[in-house]
């Protein structure tokens, strides 16, 4: 089963209640939130209602909150080469 990966790129502030309602139904609270939904005609219709505000990709597997956070986290950039005697 494939999934839509939907990311809110533009805010819904100042838009109609109907549009803001669609964003609320999708669970897109603020900019750069990412949600995953299975590919169905209902979700496709919701996407079409707010298509100017979001960025959509099709993926195989939905990511969990922890996995999304790990995606954003930068690499540490260092490692412990020689620990001092403890």
């Amino acid at each position: 089963m494939s999934f839509f990966r939907i990311t809110l790129m533009r805010s819904g502030i100042g838009l109609t209640k109907r549009t803001q309602g669609v964003l609320k139904a999708l669970g897109l609270r603020h900019r750069m939130t990412t949600v995953f939904y299975p590919v169905t005609s209902e979700v496709a219709g919701q996407i079409m209602k707010v298509k100017e505000l979001i960025d959509v990709q099709e993926v195989d597997k939905p990511l969990t909150r922890a996995e999304l956070k790990a995606e954003r986290r930068p690499e540490p950039g260092f490692y412990l080469e020689k620990p001092a005697p403890r």
Partner: protein, 220 residues
């Protein structure tokens, strides 16, 4: 005395067991009291007075040994060595020897995504406390975005290949800021809430900035 005996005789005459209503009409609590059999329980071995202090002392010792609170975070360990061949640009092949020969170099290392422009011998105060390290630990910094000298600069997109350079830093210690007091207050309310902050910061000393030659990289 007389009044007491008279009172008792009156009470005895008035209330007798037969005057109580039958059991099924009594309230539930009275029924339970009437129906349970009384028995005496022998105290268990654990309740023995001589043993109790020992048990409590043993329990507290175990608690003291067990570490409490969130798990201690450790510094990252060496990653697996890179096996993919290095993509070498023609300009790199031409000018890397020239860059390596120059007397002094600088490097833009990235620690948790933030750049630090350093050279050998610099002391860096990180804006955070690095967990899992003690003074004397040697860290190998492997993410750099640019490496240069007076006349040449080697830029990575976004990072350089880590096999080209060696950059080591030693943890010299931890520093703390002066105590900060933040006072928060609501309007028209006299209660002032104070929050005290005294953050710690890790200090590193860059001990080595070295550029390797392409022949050394390909040979290893």
């Amino acid at each position: 005395m007389l009044s007491r005996t008279i009172r008792r005789s009156i009470l005895d005459s008035k209330i007798s067991s037969s005057a109580l209503p039958p059991t099924f009409l009594l309230p539930l609590r009275a029924r339970c009291f009437n129906t349970t059999t009384q028995h005496i329980e022998t105290p268990s071995a654990g309740l023995d007075a001589s043993q109790m202090p020992l048990n409590s002392v043993a329990a507290s010792a175990e608690d003291a040994v067990k570490p409490k609170g969130p798990p201690r975070r450790k510094a990252p360990t060496a990653p697996a060595p890179i096996t993919t061949p290095m993509a070498v640009d023609s300009s790199v092949k031409e000018m890397l020897p020239l860059l390596a020969v120059q007397p002094s170099h600088y490097i833009n290392v990235h620690i948790h995504g933030k750049p630090y422009l350093v050279t050998q011998g610099d002391s860096v105060r990180l804006p955070f406390h690095m967990p899992g390290v003690i003074p004397g630990d040697v860290l190998r910094l492997n993410r750099a975005s640019s490496l240069g000298s007076r006349d040449y600069t080697l830029k990575g997109a976004p990072y350089l290949d880590e096999r080209i350079f060696e950059c080591r830093a030693t943890v010299t210690g931890t520093e703390a800021e002066p105590m900060r007091v933040k006072e928060t207050k609501k309007r028209r309310n006299r209660r002032i809430h104070t929050v005290r902050s005294k953050h710690k910061y890790t200090i590193l000393r860059i001990s080595e900035v070295k550029i390797k030659q392409l022949e050394d990289i390909k040979g290893s």
